[in-house]
């Protein structure tokens, strides 16, 4: 029993190391690429990729807490990133992992859990951006953002609400990108599981094996 528990713990941390390295690698290589290409909302795209990796992992190894541990390892890997400030992205990775862990807590292998995980991971990224602004610039930044949104609507001549409609649309788009990431992870996970945990060897009935063995090639045939 103890050996089983030790093996299970070893497997948990080995999976966290392996997938954490993968996520960290994606953040460093693909992240650098996306940032260099100046693609807007690159954080949301990376969060969707992260959610896909974590959701796929939980389809293969449905161990509670694994997404969080993987996130912690990926965050530590991110410390190798050659950028100037890494603390923010590390906190971002950890919060995305926490969101995915929460979403997959009760139904780690259900499609709806995967969708929710992607949505939450992408939303957390935006929340993290807003929080970062708040930490950097203080509470006034939020007043400034609200004012800016209202003014944008007024400038467009469509009233203050138009700005908020635009924000809502953008929010939905972000959530949709996250959901796509989660769903992609779910499909990937199912396909990977087929390779990693192949089901029991095709039920070999004695009759089928016997008949197959009877078709032996002889020197004459």
């Amino acid at each position: 029993m103890n050996a089983l528990r030790t093996h299970s713990r070893a497997r948990f941390w080995a999976q966290a190391a392996s997938f954490g390295a993968l996520w960290g690698g994606v953040e460093i290589t693909l992240g650098a690429f996306i940032h260099t290409m100046r693609i807007p909302f690159s954080g949301v795209l990376l969060a969707a990729f992260g959610a896909a990796i974590l959701v796929a992992q939980r389809q293969i190894v449905p161990m509670r807490g694994l997404s969080l541990a993987t996130g912690a390892v990926a965050a530590l890997c991110k410390s190798m990133s050659p950028g100037g400030v890494i603390l923010g992205p590390m906190v971002g990775i950890l919060s995305e992992a926490m969101a995915v862990e929460f979403a997959l807590l009760f139904a780690p292998r259900a499609r709806v859990g995967a969708l929710l995980a992607g949505c939450l991971a992408a939303s957390v990224t935006v929340l993290h951006q807003v929080l970062s602004l708040w930490v950097y610039y203080g509470g006034r930044i939020l007043d400034l953002l609200f004012e800016a949104v209202s003014k944008v609507g007024q400038l467009g001549g469509t009233g203050t609400d138009a700005g908020w409609w635009a924000v809502g649309l953008l929010g939905n788009l972000i959530i949709a990108v996250g959901a796509a990431g989660g769903l992609l992870g779910w499909y990937l996970g199912k396909d990977v599981e087929r390779i990693v945990n192949p089901g029991p060897v095709a039920t070999l009935s004695t009759r089928a094996v016997g008949s197959a063995l009877g078709s032996e090639v002889t020197d004459e045939g």
Partner: protein, 370 residues
């Protein structure tokens, strides 16, 4: 590295003092904190100061300051014909100063905690497993980063129509490799040994495997499994049970294959026989041979399921896999600890090889008993 030698304690003290000064909400105190912190960095850690050259961050900061003047508070002044608010400008300037201070602080903290610092921190908080795991991940990182880059470039070489499918399959393979690498790490030191016979097409891999099986048998060790020799007609393959020498038809060249594909038509019963012989060998033989591990197995089909089950649950001490050289690289991460890779493209002393494999089996039996 300079960071290692910087007086961390002193800098931490200055940082805390600077943070305390931010609570007053005064522009003067915030500016003082920023100035002191910049000077401290310039003296003890100039590389962090150099890292603060980030045009994007400073542009946003400028926009924030100007935006405050334009949007927050009553417009009581006019600058260049634009009505502005002094209160908003003051608030904006305070935000910018605070932002710059915290940005510089985060730059230093990131550098101070990076790499081994974070590992040590994790260990100090009782998260040894996390620290070990992070160490393993950092070892895996360069290889995986190469694979991610490789997958991205490979996608560009495929025709547009098949690009997404190819990218999806690359992702499936990458994730499968990660999962299996982790499983192999977790059971390191346990389970059967693994030897691979490889070489280009037509180099004599199957023949070498057959001769090797014969030599191992002659040294008194039981051998089972399946190999796939070519039929005399030259166009089809047979399935041969290594333990008994019985043969069945396994695959034949498909003349109606889709254009551009070199395909074989497999006899369905061939897979059933192969699975049953592999299962039996994994349970009753010391050495199991498996021939032609290739494209199908990489996709989780073919012999893969029988191999995984036999390898994980059987009592055989050694598995000998025959893998084509151009497929080898994709299998290595999935197979874990490989004792040896024998390339039949170079001269191989089969007798000598058989003796070392028998030694390996004997050693493994002793270890299991202990």
């Amino acid at each position: 590295m300079k960071v290692e030698h910087a007086p961390r304690g002193f800098l931490a003290l200055v940082a805390f003092a600077g943070i305390a000064l931010q609570f007053s909400g005064s522009l003067m105190y915030s500016s003082l904190a920023l100035a002191v912190w910049m000077v401290a960095l310039w003296i003890f850690n100039p590389c962090v100061l150099r890292r603060m050259w980030m045009p994007r961050f400073w542009t946003i900061t400028l926009v924030v300051a100007l935006g405050s003047g334009l949007l927050i508070g009553a417009h009581d002044e006019v600058f260049l014909g634009i009505p502005i608010s002094t209160l908003g400008l003051y608030a904006g300037a305070l935000m910018v100063i605070r932002g710059a201070f915290i940005f510089a602080l985060a730059g230093w903290a990131s550098k101070a905690l990076a790499n081994s610092g974070l590992d040590r921190l994790a260990s100090r908080f009782g998260a040894q497993n996390l620290a070990i795991s992070a160490g393993v991940a950092l070892d895996l990182l360069p290889g995986l980063s190469d694979r991610i880059q490789g997958a991205r470039h490979a996608k560009a070489n495929v025709q547009r129509r098949g690009r997404w499918k190819s990218a999806y399959l690359s992702a499936v393979n990458l994730l499968a490799d990660c999962a299996m690498m982790a499983d192999n790490m977790a059971k390191e030191g346990r389970g059967p040994s693994l030897v691979i016979i490889t070489g280009p097409i037509g180099a004599g891999k199957t023949h070498t495997a057959k001769v090797l099986a014969h030599k191992i048998k002659s040294l008194g060790v039981s051998v089972g499994g399946v190999i796939q020799p070519r039929h005399e007609d030259g166009e089809s393959y047979l399935l041969e049970d290594v333990a008994t020498g019985r043969r069945w038809r396994f695959a034949s060249f498909d003349p109606h294959r889709p254009e551009g594909k070199t395909g074989y038509r497999f006899f369905e019963q061939g897979w059933t026989i192969a699975a049953s012989r592999l299962q039996w060998a994994a349970l009753h033989m010391s050495v199991v041979m498996l021939d032609e591990v290739g494209l199908l197995e990489a996709d989780g089909k073919g012999h893969w399921s029988a191999f995984r089950h036999g390898f994980d649950n059987g009592s055989a001490r050694l598995w000998v896999l025959v893998v084509r050289k151009d497929r080898l690289e994709s299998f290595i991460p999935r197979l874990g600890r490989i004792e040896s890779i024998i390339d039949v493209g170079e001269p191989v002393d089969v007798e000598d090889l058989a003796s070392s494999l028998v030694e390996l089996v004997d050693r493994s039996k002793v270890e299991t008993k202990e």
